[in-house]
């Protein structure tokens, strides 16, 4: 154990992720938490492409990639195949935000409803990064992407992020959590909790992308931390329908966070105020839920 984390590495070096890739770091820790007895299902995306360029693979665990939208469906098949052979393994379905919020939503919803058993991890970098930074329903408002460029008339993406954790929680799953790659120990704990929960668990990990978010690669952790500390990316768990919010004692100014990244470079002061208002609204909702302990 090092820093309370499994010292064994399951994701070999030599993969072709960009320098400073949030996802590569996140997956390293997700696998450490899951351990030896784990099978990986991976949707098409950056992770799949940079980790399995034939004949090389970074995966030291059994791994399958099928298509873009069906990680949850393939995981269901694997779970049932193991079950009927009286075998048990951790099953991790790994996908990006595009492969989860958009095209993967149906398969995930179906798998949850059927009470399959696996942990679904969504690496949230807020766009279809692997195909060139196109907008997804996880794209933040005013974020510049290649399909929502910051134009004279329209200023980047004009829609707020889809509230994916709540959509999943509404399925009455036992464990939903958000996390940030800036806290690997937190990721470790949450993945462990997720794997030990009944049914399908959902963990969404903020995974900054230096290329897509337009910042210098060394700042991945700083930005992931700031996203949390400005309340821009709330960190919470929903266990058996009850929300527990990670409180931010001394919140930082979201303006600093936005200014660090080229994807928000063009945001004007009105838009910053709008973002601040939205953050406060969302935060108050979460606080209410946390305080009341009401079951979602």
């Amino acid at each position: 154990m090092i820093l309370g984390l499994n010292e064994k590495e399951y994701f070999a070096s030599g993969h072709r992720a960009c320098p400073g890739c949030g996802q590569a770091l996140a997956v390293r820790h997700v696998l450490k938490a899951a351990g030896d007895n784990t099978i990986i299902v991976n949707a098409t995306g950056c992770l799949e492409v940079f980790s399995t360029p034939y004949p090389e693979t970074s995966w030291k665990l059994p791994y399958i990639h099928v298509a873009f939208e069906n990680a949850a469906a393939v995981a269901s098949g694997i779970y049932r195949a193991l079950k009927i052979q009286n075998k048990k393994s951790n099953i991790l379905a790994l996908a990006g935000d595009g492969g989860t919020f958009d095209i993967g939503l149906q398969a995930l919803s179906g798998a949850i409803e059927r009470k399959e058993k696996f942990t679904y991890v969504c690496f949230d970098n807020s766009a279809y990064m692997n195909t060139g930074v196109q907008r997804s329903s996880a794209t933040e408002k005013y974020m510049e992407t290649s399909t929502t460029p910051y134009g004279k008339k329209i200023h980047g993406n004009l829609l707020w992020k889809k509230p994916m954790p709540f959509i999943i929680a509404a399925h009455n799953v036992n464990y939903v959590a958000t996390a940030s790659v800036s806290e690997p120990i937190d990721i470790n704990n949450k993945i462990k909790k997720a794997l030990n929960s009944e049914g399908v668990s959902y963990v969404q990990i903020l995974s900054p992308c230096p290329l897509g978010w337009k910042y210098e690669s060394s700042k991945t952790i700083e930005i992931a931390k700031l996203a949390v500390e400005t309340k821009f990316y709330p960190i919470f768990e929903i266990e058996n329908g009850v929300l527990k919010l990670k409180n931010i004692e001394n919140p930082k100014d979201v303006k600093t966070f936005l200014a660090m990244q080229g994807r928000f470079k063009h945001v004007n002061s009105n838009e910053v105020e709008e973002i601040k208002r939205y953050i406060n609204e969302q935060w108050n909702r979460l606080l209410e839920l946390d305080k009341s302990k009401a079951k979602l």
Partner: protein, 86 residues
């Protein structure tokens, strides 16, 4: 090279044979005197290019370091300096 049925890869983690050194524009230089062995750089390296064995942090493996400089940025003790790659 034998092409296995269905393009399956039977050597788990064989990406290790891919040494990425050529990608680097910057290189981390580790000062083991300033290092307090806190382990943060090990924890935050996306490429697992920093090893800790028997609680001791060893020199960064430059075969796999891509020069992202996250290690230098998270080090609280200035034990990692960044220099431009030749």
């Amino acid at each position: 090279m034998e092409l296995k049925i269905g393009a399956i890869i039977e050597n788990p983690g064989n990406s290790l044979k891919n040494k990425r050194a050529g990608w680097r524009s910057f290189r981390p230089i580790w000062d083991n005197k300033k290092c307090t062995q806190c382990g943060l750089c090990w924890m935050y390296c996306p490429d697992n290019a920093i090893y800790i064995k028997d609680k001791k942090r060893s020199k960064t493996n430059l075969d796999y370091c891509k020069g992202c400089c996250i290690c230098a940025s998270v080090c609280k003790f200035n034990a990692i300096q960044i220099v431009k790659e030749k």
